[in-house]
């Protein structure tokens, strides 16, 4: 790690001023310190945002809940109300890494965590994402990579919270140049879809302040498959959320992680599921629609049947006891 200056911000204004053009915000530090140790990110100053007021709370309103960007993944995992009202969010949080990480990892940092592509993470390779001219994964070792991409980079978004937030139709509220902007999960990662240099749509100095989750989908579920049973990013993750009225799905949404550079969502599948009674045939057809345009590479073809099974299982979990 190169040496850096350090400061603790107590207001969002001073956080922005302190971070300026070449600094980085530090929340839990799990991802950032790893990037700094490998010289993948250079920052002349780390601005500690953990003392920003009001950002570490989970708040309830009738139409939506608010989760501050500094809320830790462990806070979500252990919140009895979250478990009751957003069971899928609780499942996703409990599956993130290990308790040592969940205890410090924040919602903002989890969403903004950088690519896990091993070419990107290797300090000696200079791929497209690091301003080089080649994606090494395309014709190289790509077993952890995407089935969908909008550009040449096939490094997927791996944030578990992004997957479940997408299914819950949550919005990230980001402070950009003093103004709040509202980004759906699709918008939050849109720039990664378009541009290999980006891993999300945040610009320098943009600060995630909170995430708002509508309460419209009381049923939700999250599942992931990893190489290791625990303490590992997902090979594929899937989240589904809906309301169930008279046994029929209302406003269903399905999202997948680790297979695209955005949380993978297919509107025609959501529309198909709307008003349906969940059974094997419906879940299978939805999975077909969601994976229709998948473009597997040499080593990641296994992700297609894996995702297919995961979509079916996650959807059927929504049935619960009713």
């Amino acid at each position: 790690m190169k040496a850096f200056e350090y400061a603790t911000a107590h207001s969002t204004d001073s956080a922005r001023q302190l971070v300026a053009d070449k600094g980085a915000y530090i929340a839990g530090g799990n991802d950032l310190l790893g990037l700094l140790k490998e010289y993948l990110v250079e920052a002349n100053i780390l601005v500690n945002i953990k003392s920003l007021p009001g950002m570490n709370k989970i708040e309830h309103a009738r139409s939506h809940w608010t989760i501050g960007a500094l809320v830790t993944v462990a806070q979500i995992e252990n919140d009895a109300d979250i478990k009751k009202h957003f069971p899928g969010l609780r499942e996703a949080a409990a599956d993130v890494a290990s308790q040592q990480i969940r205890n410090v990892a924040t919602v903002g940092g989890n969403l903004a965590q950088h690519s896990r592509c091993w070419y990107f993470r290797h300090r000696d390779t200079q791929c497209l994402k690091k301003n080089g001219d080649l994606c090494f994964a395309r014709n190289g070792e790509n077993r952890y990579h995407s089935l969908f991409t909008g550009n040449t980079c096939i490094s997927p978004v791996v944030s578990s919270l992004a997957t479940i937030f997408a299914a819950l139709d949550a919005t990230a509220i980001v402070l950009r140049e003093g103004k709040e902007i509202r980004l759906s999960m699709a918008e939050f990662y849109q720039r990664a879809w378009e541009n290999p240099l980006s891993h999300n749509s945040l610009g320098q100095g943009d600060l995630i302040v909170r995430v708002e989750i509508p309460t419209a989908r009381p049923r939700s579920a999250f599942m992931q498959v990893s190489d290791k049973h625990a303490f590992d990013w997902a090979l594929v993750s899937c989240a589904a959320a809906a309301e169930v009225v008279d046994g029929k799905l209302k406003s269903p949404r399905v999202a997948l992680g680790s297979i695209s550079n955005v949380p993978h969502q297919v509107e025609t599948a959501n529309q198909f599921l709307d008003g349906k009674v969940l059974d094997d045939a419906t879940a299978t057809h939805a999975a077909d629609l969601i994976l229709k345009d998948a473009k597997p590479l040499e080593h990641n073809g296994y992700k297609v049947p894996m995702a297919h099974a995961l979509i079916r299982r996650t959807l059927l979990k929504l049935k619960g006891d009713a």
Binding site: F4, L18, G29, P53
Partner: protein, 216 residues
């Protein structure tokens, strides 16, 4: 984000106001003494420090450690290389093995992925702090009794994770132990015995049927 403090004092922003006023004048100033005191406190704590060594005080195992270290020094480095607390081990230095696990308050964290400067003001417990009056803790004793180690490199980390679990869950199941220890890896493959040791320390060893390899 709503900020309860006034953002502007007159035509100036808070920052330029205090910069132009200077500390001495500000303390003496005016009718807004209370707000100004609070503002000053904030601005001072927003001071930029480093990149060179800065004073950092850690409270480790009940004792104060006063160090002069750069902001980039991790807690693990501060413990091992700037004091002589080598109990927490460095395995990966990337939050992927658990050998460096220590407690911040009652919470287990990876000391390799935490800046020392951010671990001030809260009690840190390392494996060295568990024995009281030269008596090992019940978790440590259980690790010995159940032969839960070979080379021992991962052991301090596992002991801290199990210690943290038993502080909040007095009757853990085998699954609870596995969930709590998922972030600790043992290269020597002692996981079954570590599981036994954790249950033994909790006094539930006979209650749970564990997946221990037995040689009948």
């Amino acid at each position: 984000m709503k900020n309860s403090e006034p953002e502007n004092i007159g035509a100036h922003s808070r920052r330029t106001f205090f910069k132009s006023l200077g500390t001495v004048a500000a303390t003496a100033a005016t009718s807004q003494v209370r707000t100004i005191g609070a503002e000053l406190e904030k601005i001072n704590s927003e001071k930029i420090i480093g990149p060179g060594p800065v004073p950092v005080t850690l409270t480790v195992n009940g004792e104060k450690l006063k160090l002069m270290i750069e902001p980039r020094v991790t807690l693990l480095d501060a413990l091992r290389n700037y004091s002589s607390l080598t109990g927490a081990k460095e395995g990966c230095d990337r939050a992927t093995c658990g050998a460096c696990t220590v407690l911040l308050g009652d919470t287990p964290i990876y000391s390799c992925q935490k800046l020392a400067i951010e671990a001030q003001g809260i009690e840190i417990t390392t494996v060295e702090g568990l024995a009281k009056d030269k008596r090992l803790s019940k978790v440590q004793l259980a690790f010995i009794e159940k032969d839960a180690l070979q080379c021992g490199y991962c052991t301090p980390g596992f002991v801290m994770s199990v210690t943290a679990l038993l502080k909040k869950n007095f009757h853990p199941t085998a699954d609870d132990v596995k969930h709590a220890c998922a972030g600790n890896l043992c290269r020597c493959g002692c996981h079954p015995h570590i599981l036994q040791a954790a249950l033994k320390a909790a006094g539930v060893e006979h209650a749970a049927k564990t997946e221990v390899i037995t040689y009948a």
